[in-house]
Assembly symmetry: C2
Homo-oligomer: 264 residues x 2
């Protein structure tokens, strides 16, 4: 049993019987982020890599940009509270307007939409990937998803380069899983630019904005994108690959980054 | 093709070939709710039953309680804006403290947690269900999920009584799907108390609070609950049934509402 799951007593009913049993359920943990002594948000998440989640969330919301912006970070994982102090004032304290934006996605439902987001730059990158690398990445990605296999209730995300997975995170929320990746990269000094993001979940528009902010040109999922995600991928210069399963995939935008059979 | 989907041009890569093709993707639509002339939130959702979604969202957040609370509701579905005016001031305007609470769930990530929520009453109900009714409901529920079958990217929710589905809604967000149900019930005068909710998605704690607020004693899903959902179901007096697939199911809390083989 991993730390992300819990045993509970259940009654199991089948056609033949009704019996007392034990079942493994995935954990759901409330993490409250206090930013500069002000309660910012409570995330419902899987209780692992909580520091990375807090940092990734703050970065995705445009409240921090780099490790140097963080003066201190104190996690009380018994109480489910993480206190972050920034080196300077954040856009919120500077009075930027932000807007509650609630997504269709798992986890991190709300986003502060700042003026910075609106002027989101298009991703320019010479990164290319071969279909065999996509197939190999997704095979590795599936193999690593332990909690998901155990309970059917967790999303995974990964940062990759070529056919190698560099960072891997899981969470009950698909947005949280991606924020954990970006928080880990920010804290550990792992570059994201020109690299690849893998996700187990559906691709919605908001994920494209997150990924563009990190300069990532390729997003791969085993699930489907929405129409708005396809459009946003096109606008932001991101190659969106969906339904990457076995030795098949669909390319929804910027297919030029996927090498052809005859390419060098 | 249903109104909830869109055709897009893709490149499909398999082991043998790379070809231009058409694919069906699910739509993702931004709906901004303006409450009493103040922009409240933008939901990313499926573009159907938008009035019900707005009403269900406001009810779930405790900003309205019944149809009489709504003075006017104007939907501009071209611009993606719904304007709601309430008969009296809302808890927000009355200065209630609310807290951003971001869930692991799909859709409706943030919730205003009011004092009312904190004092959530336990559901008392004499409703009982037989295993055969659960199996029959879930079979019907699966059959109705059209968009899901087409694109693999949509959640469903339903209100049921006995083995009959009364209201059925779909959305890219599982919270949105449930809010559409409650909005439809509120607007059309369909009682929810003592009835049953079905959901295609994972059961997280926040869904239990939503369901308790409607006096619903039984929640059934084909997916898994989290540990916090199981605990919350126990505390709020709700029977949580997960993995209801074929002729099997797991009961995670209050199993007394599921009739035994020998019961009358």
């Amino acid at each position: 049993m991993s730390e992300g799951t819990e045993q509970v007593k259940i009654q199991r009913i089948t056609d033949r019987e009704r019996l007392e049993a034990e079942d493994t359920v995935v954990r759901e943990f409330p993490l409250t982020i206090i930013l500069n002594n002000q309660e910012l948000v409570t995330l419902l998440c899987s209780p692992a890599k909580l520091r990375y989640l807090a940092l990734g969330f703050l970065a995705s919301e445009g409240l921090i940009r780099e490790k140097a912006d963080v003066k201190s970070l104190l996690l009380d994982d018994r109480r489910g509270v993480v206190r972050v102090e920034t080196a300077g004032p954040t856009p919120i304290e500077q009075g930027s307007v932000f807007k509650r934006f609630i997504t269709s996605g798992c986890g991190k439902g709300a986003a502060f939409y700042s003026a910075v987001d609106a002027a989101q730059a298009k991703v320019e990158s010479a990164t290319r990937i071969a279909p065999d690398q996509v197939f190999s990445l997704m095979k590795d990605f599936q193999t690593r998803s332990d909690i998901f296999r155990e309970t059917g209730g967790v999303h995974s995300a990964a940062l990759a380069e070529g056919d190698r997975i560099l960072v891997f995170c899981e969470d009950i929320g698909r947005h949280n899983a991606i924020d954990k990746i970006f928080g880990e990269c920010l804290w550990e000094g792992i570059p994201t630019r020109d690299r690849i993001i893998l996700t187990s979940g559906r691709i919605s528009s908001e994920i494209l904005f997150k990924v563009a902010k990190r300069g990532i040109p390729i997003l791969i999922s085993r699930s489907a994108p929405t129409d708005l995600a396809v459009k946003t991928g096109g606008d932001l210069g991101i190659t969106v690959i969906g339904f990457a399963r076995g030795r098949r995939m669909n390319i929804y935008s910027h297919p030029d980054r996927v090498k052809g059979a005859g390419d060098p």
